[in-house]
Assembly symmetry: C2
């Protein structure tokens, strides 16, 4: 992992990094080395590691909780090149939107293909970040990702025992129910009541599929992109409660 | 409204009152007169004004927010006598439970009958409490009630413009969808994912029916009576945000 420029604003350090092909960013309290919980943020389809929803969450978790937060660009997103297959998928989706054809199956297939590539990237990123002086080698780790971030995150959290709390949402159960049934860590699930892209019944089925005993669904009015900002503060309390408890458990055993 | 004994514990005054046939209790910060938001708590079926869930909420709202909180016994509940009709309904419900017959229609009919009596009682109680020195004449008012408390609360909040934020839940849309569609104030709705008494689809339909733009559904695993205590703190933030904002709006107009 090679760190590039570091900038600091409002007490938050923003440190861009490269790991092989992966482009990412680590946010942490400015100038403060030391062990702290780490939250991984996965962006939505067509967006990137510094999309507004991710920046807002990164700053809130760093300034309110003193956490470290990291995001990477998904394959073919942000600062990363698109493959010919990525381009072809994007064209198919744009054409379906333009013609009013069924978009959801195309998006689901593309999400699943991206997730297959993104899961090992996230695990390699996590390996590298846990060796960083601003994070620490054995800290509790949380995951946040909605929409494409959930398509990537559900198989990631199912496979990755170091992640002990997760926020998902804005996606249905298609192709994810099996991995969700292997997840037992605390889960918060976000559903937009008027989501024009994801059928409500499919989102409810995905929430249902998580094996976690500690899981809560938050549903708010609004369309797919209209997640209310009030959930940011609520997510922080979710992570703060679970990641501290998880760290305390590790310390006792 | 006649006030009976007052006791104080942990900084919380608990003041029992009688208003006509109604038996109730007002909680407030000990020894502190003055205007403060008021939260009304309505208990569930077969329970009473000082059920554990209500006591926990009253103490949290008073000690954390400095609010006033009031609860009354529903007709035929707590310190109030049962009528012959109440007794007959209770017998029918017990027999249905014992025989494994359909309980939900009997409970719904009894709830609706109780609500018809309870709504004017709550409005009279509110009239009287707003003249009390521990509350103040023109303060923002919130309502909390789940199960039977929602059967009473939905028609109450639909009819009562002084209530400007409400928490409902653990009940379906049968006979309530019409009143819910007249509610536009902020709503928090609680759903137990494994509710053995209320079908999930019916609860989701009631949440859907509220006309409020600011409404959030919180769903947690567990049965009807297993509402997690973590929702108490979350409800307090809901009321604190909405009742302060509501007070500020009143002050500006």
């Amino acid at each position: 992992m090679r760190f590039l420029s570091e900038t600091t604003a409002d007490g938050v350090s923003e440190h861009h990094f490269v790991l092989g092909d992966i482009t990412g960013v680590l946010w942490s309290p400015a100038g403060a080395d030391g062990d702290r919980p780490l939250i991984l943020l996965a962006h939505g389809g067509g967006r990137h590691k510094k999309a507004p929803g991710l920046l807002a969450r990164a700053h809130h978790h760093v300034t309110t909780g003193g956490f470290a937060v990291a995001a990477i660009d998904a394959p073919g997103h942000g600062d990363r090149p698109r493959t010919a297959a990525d381009e072809a998928a994007a064209v198919r989706i744009r054409e379906a939107v333009a013609s009013g054809g069924p978009v959801a199956p195309l998006v689901a297939a593309h999400n699943a293909a991206l997730a297959t590539r993104a899961v090992p990237e996230w695990r390699a990123t996590l390996d590298a970040l846990l060796g960083h002086g601003r994070v620490g080698p054995d800290v509790p780790v949380g995951f946040w990702g909605v929409s494409l971030g959930t398509a990537v995150g559900v198989p990631l959290v199912a496979a990755e025992p170091r992640i002990t709390a997760a926020v998902f949402g804005l996606l249905g159960h298609e192709s994810l129910a099996g991995a969700a049934a292997r997840i037992t860590v605390p889960v918060r699930f976000l559903l937009q009541w008027d989501d024009e892209l994801v059928p409500r019944s499919s989102s409810l089925a995905l929430f249902d599929a998580f094996a976690s005993r500690d899981k809560t669904l938050h549903a708010n009015p609004g369309r797919h992109m209209e997640l209310p900002t009030s959930e940011v503060e609520s997510e922080h309390r979710f992570f703060a409660g679970r990641l501290r408890a998880s760290g305390a458990r590790q310390a006792h055993h």
